[in-house]
Symmetry: C2
Subunit: 183 residues, 2 copies
């Protein structure tokens, strides 16, 4: 985001084939809803490629990079760490503290897939649940980011976009800012 | 929800195999974030089964049902219809109107997969974008529901749950309300 907050999303665990679309949606949701960067497990090559491709077409800045050691990255993170889990404390009760304690720092938001090692629960400064119901890591990430940024992420503009969607009540309108109108 | 709002989520389009997990996550997100019902295309048998199974274990009320004619259901819906699309108008500008105009009615929230027929754009009272960026129908649904219910859905309690997660700062705690403690 363009203020004093920097957010990286880390996807923990990825089973090629089965998780391709979920992991891709984690990356695209991170980008669309105000994060600066997403880190994928090294085997999530499809998600990495798609997220970079969308950034190329629809703008940034946004980084997507692989890691060989996701759990190691969580443990060694230089900044506060939130782990989103259905077992955690209510997001509505914790987000204010997280906002206050992460100003000027690099916040890491960890979203797991199936089984998350207990190490990650311990390494996190906050284990936070978007409800304590089983649903979707993508949904949890979306609600967390929207609340963390107090909705300001919805007004973010992306730079160097090859194409831009123009909001319309009915239909589809897409412009190509670089050759049709000033930024 | 337990107030004067009733929300049904309709998943439009489903490719068995490829979309199984996304469609399932649409259903589980609808349940967790305050909707009363989800309607799946008839070929989304996995998603239907998983959503019903989660409702059985973690409580309701929540209905999941199949339809042979998703587009027909949208056209014939007896109540206001929101279609979530990256081409639509900003959610932050439209949600107040949608809240006001759907009190006491059954709101239908339509989330597509790949290509949505133009009929659906026309049948919707509002075409709404959670950003105009490509990301995830699950993320868009989550942010829409959280804003539509003004966050009250996060405090919802589910009835007749066989198990219930107890929010904790570290670790996992699950109770079985029916034989261990009063509801």
């Amino acid at each position: 985001m363009q203020d004093d907050r920097s957010v990286t999303v880390l996807r923990l665990g990825h089973r090629p084939g089965r998780d391709d679309r979920m992991t891709t949606h984690v990356g695209l949701t991170a980008r669309a809803l105000g994060a600066d960067e997403v880190i994928f497990p090294a085997n999530a090559t499809d998600a990495l490629e798609t997220t970079r491709d969308v950034t190329e077409r629809f703008g940034g800045p946004f980084e997507a990079r692989p890691t060989d050691s996701p759990v190691g990255d969580v443990r060694g993170w230089d900044g506060p760490v939130v782990h989103l889990t259905m077992y955690g404390e209510p997001v509505q009760e914790r987000v204010g503290t997280i906002q206050a304690e992460s100003v000027g720092q690099d916040l890491l938001v960890v979203v797991g897939s199936e089984k998350v090692p207990f190490d990650v629960y311990e390494a996190a400064d906050w284990n936070v649940g978007v409800t304590n119901q089983p649903h979707s890591e993508v949904a949890a990430l979306a609600v967390f980011l929207d609340r963390y940024f107090d909705g300001r992420e919805l007004d973010r503009t992306f730079e160097n976009a090859e194409r831009r969607v123009v909001p319309t009540a009915l239909g589809k309108e897409v412009t190509e800012p670089t050759d049709s109108e000033p930024e």
